[in-house]
Amino acid sequence: MNRRQALKNISFGAGIIVVGPTTLGLLQSCKNEPKYNWQPQFLSAGQGLILEKILDVIIPTGETPGATDVNVAQFIDIYMFKVAAPKEQREFKEAAGAFSVAFKNELQKEAEAGETGDFERIVEKFLRATPTQKEEFARRNGETQDPMDKDPTNHWEKTIPLSTEAADAAAFAYLRNVRDMGIWGWKTSKEIGENVLWYDPVPGEYIPCAPVEELGNGKAMSL
C-alpha cells in the first residue's frame, strides 16, 4: 500500500490527535518502501513523519545534503527520548500535537497527509510571521489558561479541543524548536561535519588571523 494513501485513510476528529496502534501498524507495513523504515522511539510514527517533512522545508536537500539525508529527524527523536527531561518531553509532544491541529486549521487536511507544498505553506506562515504576530504567539504561549496546560499527563493523546489561537502559538514554538534542534543535528552530523564544513580535526598550528577565503575555503569549522 502506498504510505501516503494509507495515512489518508486514517480518520481524525477535529482538533484531536490520536495515533494508536493501528496507525503504527500501517506505517510499519510501509517499511519496504524506499527510505521509509524508521520507527521513532519517542514520537508517534505520524509525528515522526511530520517532523521529517518540516525538516525537509527548513533544511532541504540541494547542492549539499539536507536534513533528511543525514537523519536529523531520527536524531531529534532519540535526543527527546534519551536526553530531554520529562518536562521538555511533555512540552515537545504537546507542541507536536498542536502543530498537527494548526496544520489542519490552516490547510483543511491532516498533517500526515500533507504534500511538500503544504508544509512549505505552514512553515512560511509561522517562521515568516510578522514580528507582531511572533510576539503574540510568544505571549499566548506564556499564558497558562489553556486546557492543555491544566492537565500535565498524556493529553496529546486525549480528546481535548484546542482553540485556533492556542494551537497556532504552540505550533510556532514547535517549529522554532525543531528549527534550532534541526540546525544543531544537521551541523553535528558526520556527513556535514566531515565533508561539507571545514573539517580540521588536528590543526597542528594556530594561525590567529587570516582571510576566511584562504582558510577552509570560506567555510566554517565543523569542530
Binding site: V57, I58, I59, P60, G62, T64, G66, F75, I78, Y79, K82, V83, A84, A85, P86, V123, L127, R128, K134, R176, R179, D180, I183, W184, G185, W186, K187, T188, S189, K190, G193, E194, V196, L197, D200, P201, V202, P203, G204, E205, Y206, I207, P208, C209, A210, P211, V212, E213, L215, G216, G218, K219, A220, M221, L223
Partner: protein, 575 residues
C-alpha cells in the same frame, strides 16, 4: 601491586595523585625516598585511558549530551555547566555515590581517579606576586603568610621549566613573569581589545593568557607540542598539556622508587603519642572494603583541599582530639574559592572577513589593576580581580537569530558566524574564619566514613568587587569599540571556581594556623600538607602553579629532613 600487598612500610607516603600529589611523588622519589602513592579513585593511564580524546560530535551517542538518566548521577557536578557532557563526564564523580551536605550551597566538583583534577583543569598558570603574599599582613584579613615571593621564586622556576608555560614577558609587579615557552597569539579581535584598552587606560593591560599547554616544538619527555584541538578536558594524546598522568607520575615511575596504589581511600593518619609524630595511614580499599594500614617516616597530604582537611579531622587522638594538627581550631575553616561569572560580552562587527586556523585552548588575560598601589586603591573593597576571556567566531548564532529557513539558511550555516568576545572576572575571596567545612558522623558514605558539610558564602567585599568588575568589563569592551556590549552577573556559589582552598592554612603562629612555613603541621613535622588546604589567602590568580611550587619546595625540604634523620629523632612539641 604484588609488591605493595606484602609490604607495609615505606619511607614516604603521598596521599593523592592530582597536581600536587604528582609533584610530591616526583620530588620525593627523585630524592631517593621509597614512596607509596595512594589514590582513592581508579587507575587512569596516560593516553590508554582517555576514551573520548579523539571523538567528534557525531561519534558520541547524543552528540555530546549526557542522557537524562546519566545526569541524575551528576546533578552537583553539573553545576559548572561544562563538565558532565559525554566528552568528560567520566572524569567527574557520581554524586549519588559520593554525597555531601550543604548548610549553604557549595559546588564541590571532584574527580576521583589517578591524576585527579590535573586531568580536567583549565591550565591557567600565573605566579603570585609579592603583594599577594603581603596582603593579609597589610589589610589584616586572615593571618600573615609565613613565606614571601622570594621563598618561592626558585621553585616557580623549577616547576615552569618542567611543566612548560606558554606566555609572554610583561614585567608587571602584580603578575611576575614565568619562564615561558612561546605565547599563544591573540586573534584579531582579541588584539583589537588589547589596543583599544591600552589606548584608553594607563592602569591596565590585556595580555596573552598563560597556560600549561606546551608550545615549545621540542616538547618535554614523553610530551609533544599543542595541536590546537582544544580538547584538553578529555585527556591529551600528545601530552601537550601538563597533567600528573602525562608528566610527574611517569617521572616518578622512572625512578623505580614509587608504588602507586589506586582505589585506596585514606581516611586517617596514625599518630603515635610516644614518638610524637605520624607513623602511617589507615586505608579502605574502595573496591573490596578491606581495611589496611601503611607506614612511613614522612607523609604528604595532597588529597585536595577538602579531602586533606577531612583526613586530618578524622585523625583524632588523645593528643589531637579535634583532628591532627588542630591545636588552633582553624582546621576546616577559612575556606575560600574565586568568585566569577561576572563580566560582559559583546560583538565585533569589523572582522567579517577574518578567521583563524586551529582552536586554541586559551584566550586573553587582564591582570589585576585594583588596589595594587596608592593610585589604584579602592574605597569599596580590598584586594582585586583579574579578567579572563576570549574572542571567536560563533557557530550559528546569526542564522538562529533570524528565522530564515531553506536554501538561504543552509548557505548561512556554512559560513563562520559573528565574532563574539567575552570577559569573565575572577576575584579574590577573603579568608573568613566562619567559612568552613565540617564532618557529619550521622551521615556516612558507602565506606562508613563521615560526609562533609559546607557552610561557606561570599560576603560584602566580594560583592562590592563584583559590581566594579562588571562595570569595568563593560567600559573596556565599549572603549575598544565593540557592539552590543551586555553585562552579566550570575549567581556564583563557592566551589564553582574549583579553586577551593584554605582549610589547613600556613602561618607563623601555631595558635592561629595549622601549617608552618615548610607546610609541616605545627608540632607534627613529618606530616606535610601542600595542596590548596595550605593557602592563607586566595589572591585572584588561578592557584595551580603556586600549589606546584609550594609542593616541590616542601618535598625537597622533606627529603633533606629525612636524610638528616630528623624524622627519626624524638620531636619536641611547642604550644
Amino acid at each position: 601491586m604484588n609488591k605493595i600487598k606484602n609490604k607495609q612500610k615505606f619511607e614516604a607516603i603521598v596521599i593523592g595523585t592530582g597536581i600536587t600529589g604528582g609533584w610530591a611523588s616526583k620530588e620525593l622519589s627523585e630524592g631517593g625516598l621509597d614512596t607509596l602513592v595512594l589514590e582513592r579513585g581508579r587507575m587512569v593511564k596516560h593516553i590508554e585511558d582517555y576514551p573520548t580524546m579523539n571523538k567528534d560530535p557525531w561519534d558520541f551517542q547524543n552528540r555530546g549530551q549526557a542522557s537524562y538518566e546519566e545526569r541524575q548521577h551528576q546533578l552537583k557536578q553539573a553545576r559548572t555547566g561544562y563538565t558532565t557532557g559525554e566528552a568528560s563526564k567520566h572524569w567527574f564523580v557520581d554524586d549519588l555515590e559520593h554525597p555531601y551536605n550543604e548548610e549553604k550551597r557549595f559546588d564541590w566538583i571532584r574527580g576521583y581517579h589517578v591524576g585527579g583534577k590535573s586531568l580536567m583543569w583549565t591550565r591557567m598558570s600565573f605566579r603570585w606576586s609579592e603583594m599577594d603574599f603581603e596582603a593579609n599582613k597589610k589589610d589584616g584579613y586572615g593571618v600573615d603568610w609565613p613565606i614571601r615571593y622570594k621563598d618561592l621564586v626558585t621553585w616557580y622556576e623549577k616547576v615552569e621549566n618542567y611543566v612548560g608555560i606558554s606566555g609572554k614577558n610583561e614585567e608587571l609587579p602584580q603578575l611576575p613573569d614565568s619562564i615561558f615557552t612561546p605565547e599563544i597569539a591573540l586573534n584579531c579581535v582579541e588584539q583589537e581589545l588589547k589596543e583599544g584598552v591600552e589606548a584608553n587606560y594607563d592602569d591596565r593591560k590585556v595580555i596573552n593568557s598563560r597556560v600549561a599547554n606546551l608550545t615549545d616544538p621540542n616538547g618535554r619527555e614523553g610530551r609533544g607540542p599543542c595541536q590546537y584541538r582544544n580538547r584538553c578536558i578529555r585527556g591529551c594524546p600528545y601530552g601537550a598539556y601538563f597533567s600528573s598522568n602525562s608528566s610527574t607520575l611517569p617521572a616518578a615511575e622512572r625512578t623505580g622508587m614509587i608504588s602507586l596504589r589506586p582505589n585506596s581511600i585514606v581516611h586517617e593518619i596514625i599518630y603515635d603519642n610516644d614518638l610524637k609524630r605520624a607513623t602511617g595511614v589507615r586505608v579502605i580499599d574502595a573496591e573490596t572494603n578491606e581495611k589496611l594500614e601503611f607506614y612511613a617516616d614522612v607523609i604528604f597530604c595532597c588529597a585536595g583541599t577538602i579531602p586533606s582537611a577531612s583526613i586530618l579531622m578524622q585523625s583524632r587522638s588523645d593528643r589531637f582530639p579535634n583532628g591532627l594538627g588542630n591545636d588552633s581550631g582553624e582546621l576546616g575553616h577559612n575556606l575560600m574559592d574565586h568568585h566569577f561569572k561576572v563580566g560582559a560580552s559583546a560583538r565585533a562587527d569589523n572582522h567579517e572577513k577574518d578567521y583563524y586556523k586551529g582552536r586554541k585552548p586559551t584566550g586573553f588575560f587582564v591582570p589585576r589593576f585594583r588596589n595594587i598601589d596608592e593610585k589604584s586603591t579602592m574605597k569599596e573593597f580590598v584586594r582585586g580581580y583579574g579578567m579572563q576571556g576570549g574572542a571567536s567566531r560563533s557557530d550559528w548564532t546569526r542564522a538562529i537569530g533570524e528565522m530564515n529557513y531553506g536554501k538561504e539558511l543552509k548557505e548561512e550555516l556554512l559560513k563562520p558566524g559573528d565574532w563574539k568576545i567575552g570577559v569573565n572576572c575572577f576575584g579574590e575571596c577573603l579568608p573568613y574564619h566562619e567559612n568552613k567545612m565540617m564532618l557529619d558522623y550521622n551521615k556516612l558514605d558507602n565506606w562508613g566514613l563521615p560526609t562533609v558539610t559546607f557552610d561557606c558564602e561570599y560576603k560584602e567585599n566580594e560583592m562590592a568587587m563584583r559590581k566594579d568588575a562588571r562595570d569595568q568589563a563593560v567600559a573596556m569592551l565599549k572603549a575598544a569599540g565593540f557592539k552590543d556590549v551586555s553585562p552579566y552577573d550570575e549567581p556564583c556559589y563557592p566551589g564553582n571556581g574549583i579553586h577551593e582552598m584554605g582549610t589547613a592554612r600556613m602561618g607563623r603562629d601555631p595558635k592561629t594556623s595549622v601549617l608552618n612555613k615548610n607546610n609541616q603541621i605545627h608540632n607534627v613535622p613529618n606530616v606535610y600538607v601542600t595542596d590548596g588546604a595550605c593557602m592563607a589567602s586566595s589572591a585572584s590568580q588561578n592557584p595551580s602553579l603556586t600549589y606546584m611550587a609550594i609542593t616541590a619546595r616542601a618535598a625537597n625540604h622533606a627529603v633533606e629532613q629525612f636524610k638528616a634523620e630528623k624524622f627519626k629523632q624524638p620531636i619536641k612539641q611547642t604550644i
